[in-house]
């Protein structure tokens, strides 16, 4: 089953200096049998699932630049037995653990807080772990996030997304820290309420992937990064001069003014952050700020 890689092939090709012992042969034989059993089991499971009544049909995007059979992108079909409450992530994990251990996707917390399993499911950006299978039309098409480079199968390169997040100085800055190390910088409940939704971002990248502008303009900061700037700009504990600096960052050529209020980011955000609203509010702040100099 496993295909040799060039580097290991070279090693294998070298003449063996030692004769393999009887024990080695026995072990190798045992492993081959184990692999054989594994393949049989997978085939049986797949057959059973195909024939069973309550199964879900998934069409999953596959691509691996390193493996000849997967170099050309394609869709694989998996039949997964349906259970109540099953999510897209559950189905993918079932397919991986039961039929094809090379099926690759990111996931971790499976409770919508780590943000690693944003996928393109039936034509929309969603978190695999909080998308119920029962709510989707079959066959369920699972693809990597659009507008991002695919590393392998459903895994995309997130570097650009992280770079944009970091471009907005995504950290709290204040010049009026209280003196005592146990004294808080007081914040009104109203102000916390104002920034609350913006702090919920889990960096999943769904918004960026859904944004037409970001797709066409690689330098556009994008909804997540602008929301991050909003989180700090609207926090009353950051002083006026720092807010000024922030507005300069988001007002740059590829900042807030690129947004054409299509609301696609807001629609797909799994944490219900009103991203478009936040971007518009920063535009208003920027205008107000510029008017001050007149």
């Amino acid at each position: 089953m496993s295909t040799q890689l060039p580097e290991t092939e070279t090693q294998e090709a070298e003449p063996e200096t030692e004769q393999p012992s009887k024990g080695d042969e026995r072990r190798a034989k045992r492993r081959r049998r184990a692999a054989e059993r594994e393949r049989e089991r997978q085939a049986e499971e797949a057959e059973r699932a195909r024939e069973a009544e309550d199964t879900v049909q998934l069409k999953v995007f596959r691509y691996d630049p390193e493996v000849p059979e997967k170099e050309k992108p394609r869709f694989d079909e998996f039949h997964v037995p349906f259970t109540k409450g099953m999510t897209v992530l559950d189905a993918l994990m079932y397919a991986r653990d039961t039929y094809d251990s090379s099926l690759t996707f990111r996931h971790s917390c499976r409770q919508a807080i780590c943000g690693s399993d944003a996928l393109f499911v039936n034509g929309r950006q969603r978190l695999g772990c909080k998308t119920q299978i029962a709510e989707l039309e079959e066959p369920i098409r699972v693809e990597p996030l659009p507008h991002q480079e695919v590393v392998k199968d459903l895994v995309v390169d997130m570097e650009h997304f992280y770079d944009q997040m970091e471009a907005v100085e995504p950290y709290f800055q204040t010049n009026s820290l209280p003196e005592g190390e146990l004294d808080e910088q007081r914040q009104t409940r109203e102000n916390r309420e104002k920034v609350k939704m913006s702090t919920r971002c889990i960096w999943c990248g769904a918004c960026m992937s859904s944004c037409n502008i970001a797709a066409g303009d690689n330098q556009y900061l994008g909804p997540a990064a602008i929301n991050k700037a909003y989180r700090f700009a609207m926090d009353e504990r950051e002083g006026e001069d720092i807010k000024q600096q922030r507005l300069e960052i988001i007002e740059q050529e590829h900042g807030v003014w690129r947004c054409q209020t299509q609301f696609s980011c807001t629609e797909v955000c799994p944490k219900d952050i009103p991203l478009t609203e936040h971007i518009q509010e920063l535009k208003r702040e920027a205008v107000k700020n510029n008017l001050k100099f007149w």
Binding site: R27, T104, R110
Partner: protein, 634 residues
């Protein structure tokens, strides 16, 4: 080879805090993490951070509650460090901008939590961990600390002196998930393990899929003792279908538990006549399961947690996240109906043995956070004590690793000071499969690699063959050697035929949930050891079938599965040897706390594949007072 002063493995709360602290000490620090930092499981913590911040509260009360909650199995020096430093560390987060919930006067809010004598749990809605993780990652970005994200650390580079107490850790070996490159990370000053929990040892857990106990297993196999592994916390309120956590904050705010007959069983069946739903977690978990076992559960599986009477406004203000979780993962609207809950694995009180400065018995090796056992939680962790643990001990470990003098620790590590050797009667031989040879299942990841490196046990220093003569290995060579061993292991796993890890993993998880759960009995524990043994045999044939070096999750999970095996066995061995009932550890045959014989920590040493049990007395003497064991009632 990459080189830094301090290498932090893991980027959750403890790892990030350690990195910041080390950098503040002037060290060149880097983080190696198998996820991106914002994906770490700290983000899933909901409840809050215990800190004595208010008038009427004191760190002494916090320490008292913690010692009592631990069922007198926590070490006082560590608990006192936790409680004296938590206020400052919590406000430090506030100064970094963390979005805590606020009182009317603009100060951070605090709320009651189980087992606390004062409402000292500081929180940010029901998403405290998410806010904490992101706030600390922001500080990391601000400071420009280097992060090797999606690099999976799989092996420690430790010298092979015979006694672990004489060994030195020179770095780690990690595997770049995106490219498949295996590289050495040399740490000039120290390695801090901050790899988090091990919930994937069980099949019903609140833990992330990535919480496979990697750091604990790596350190264990490198000879570092692991401590109190039998103490696994089961959280009483997890969603039955997925294990998703419903914060203790719900009960803290006044949520009520009901059985199928609509009885408020915590009171009506006398489980905790004073504290009711806010008794500590072990008490509530057992109460729930007893209700189910006695036929008063709903669908024979769970009980109800009701928060409707709190009113929409308060729920939205303080527990909004819970509404989303119940809706998305269980299809229940918490405003309209009670939520189904049952106990699930939640937290490992045990872990890598450290002192109160985060240092292990191996020079240059530190551990902090859930993977470590300092020990502050003893037999049972109080809700709201995990997050202060991350920031307090993350900071201390980071500082110490960077060279700051934190004074002599009062807790001793390794086989130093007072300890006794123990024995455990097992139905099968635990530890490695005997008769294995190099390359057979090259999936070890321990200190002394398989074959070729001073197997004579002569106590020789790290040696190398040098044209007949031997000389000490330099730190660089020690790391290089570990890299070579790891490459051999991975090549073997990838090039051969064999069985898939997934079934092996599932079988261990199911056995653990069946036999080493909230309720434990001797025969069940023995059966779990047999099952783990079978899984070890099966693992001999494990192979990675995905041939790709790019993002090979098959390979990662195969390596993780080996960690799960070693950890599962350690938990079960500890549970079998401790024949008493203390904190989270319940034994059917032993229904009492046995202070005369069990005020001691269970220690396990790997000893090149032969686990050895020994004990160290618990330290109940604090700086100014001793904590007298009392009957734990709530």
């Amino acid at each position: 080879m990459y080189e830094h002063d301090v290498i932090v493995v893991g980027a959750g709360g403890a790892g990030l805090r350690a990195a910041i602290a080390a950098q503040e000490e002037g060290a060149d620090v880097a983080i190696v993490t198998k996820l991106h930092p914002v994906r770490s499981h700290t983000g899933a913590a909901e409840g809050g951070i215990n800190a004595a911040l208010r008038e009427g509260d004191s760190w002494e009360d916090h320490a008292y509650d913690t010692m009592k909650g631990s069922d007198y199995l926590a070490d006082a020096p560590a608990v006192e460090a936790l409680c004296t430093e938590s206020p400052k560390e919590t406000i430090q987060l506030e100064h970094w901008g963390m979005a805590f919930s606020r009182d009317e006067d603009g100060r951070v809010s605090q709320r009651p939590f189980g087992g606390l004598s004062f409402p000292r749990t500081t929180y940010a809605g029901a998403e405290t961990g998410h806010q904490l993780l992101h706030t600390m990652y922001e500080q990391l970005v601000k400071r420009g600390i280097e992060v090797y994200d999606e690099w999976y650390a799989t092996r420690l580079a430790v010298s092979d002196d015979e006694r672990p107490e004489d060994r030195t850790c020179h770095g780690v070996v990690a595997y770049d998930i995106q490219s498949g490159e295996i590289a050495g990370f040399r740490a000039r000053k120290g390695v801090v393990l901050a790899t988090g929990g091990l919930g994937q040892v069980f099949d019903h857990t609140t833990n992330a899929v990535s919480n496979t106990g990697d750091g604990v297993a790596m350190a264990y196999r490198a000879g570092v003792p692991i401590e109190d592994m039998e103490f696994i916390q089961f959280h009483p309120t997890t969603l039955p279908s997925t294990g998703v956590l419903i914060s203790e904050g719900v009960r803290g705010e006044g949520g009520i538990l009901y059985n199928a007959e609509g009885e408020r069983f915590m009171y009506e069946h006398g489980y905790a006549n004073n504290a009711g739903e806010l008794a500590s977690r072990d008490v509530v978990s057992r109460a729930e399961l007893t209700e189910v076992n006695e036929g008063r559960g709903i669908e024979d599986e769970y009980v109800h947690l009701d928060m409707r009477h709190l009113g929409e406004e308060r729920i939205i203000d303080r527990l909004e996240n819970i509404l989303h979780l119940a809706e998305d993962f269980e299809g229940v609207d918490g405003l309209d109906e009670p939520m189904p809950v049952k106990p699930g694995q939640h937290y490992a009180m045990g872990g890598v043995e450290t002192d109160e400065n985060g240092e292990t018995c191996v020079a240059g090796l530190y551990a902090a956070g859930e993977c470590a056992c300092a020990s502050v939680h003893g037999a049972n962790r109080l809700g709201g004590n995990a997050l202060p643990e991350l920031i307090v001990f993350g900071k201390r470990a980071g500082q110490h690793a960077a060279g700051r003098d934190l004074g002599t620790a009062r807790i001793e590590t390794g086989k130093r000071g007072e300890y006794e050797v123990g024995e455990v009667d097992t139905p099968v031989t635990p530890g490695e499969v005997t008769g294995r040879e190099p390359g057979d299942v090259a999936a070890d990841g321990g200190a002394a690699p398989d074959g070729g490196h001073e197997p004579d046990g002569s106590g020789a220093r790290e040696t190398r063959s040098d044209g007949g003569a031997t000389a000490e290995l330099t730190p660089d060579e020690c790391v290089e050697r570990a890299v070579t061993d790891e490459r051999t292991r991975v090549d073997a796993l990838m090039s051969r035929d064999g069985t898939n890890h997934a079934n092996i993993r599932a079988e261990v998880q199911q056995s653990m949930t069946r036999f080493v759960n909230v309720f434990r009995e001797e025969e069940g524990l023995k059966q779990a050891l047999r099952d783990i043994r079978d899984a070890r045999e099966a693992y001999q044939d494990v192979a990675v079938s995905d041939p790709s070096r790019t993002f090979n999750t098959d390979l990662i999970q195969t390596i993780e599965t080996r960690n799960i095996l070693d950890i599962a066995e350690a938990i079960t061995l500890g549970a079998l040897v401790r024949d008493e009932f203390r904190g989270a550890h319940w034994r059917k045959e032993h229904q009492e706390r046995k202070d005369e014989s069990w005020l001691k920590h269970t220690m396990l040493s790997w000893n090149d594949g032969t686990p050895e049990v020994w004990f160290r007395p618990v330290i109940l003497e604090g700086e100014e007072k001793a904590y007298e064991p009392k009957i734990r009632s709530y």
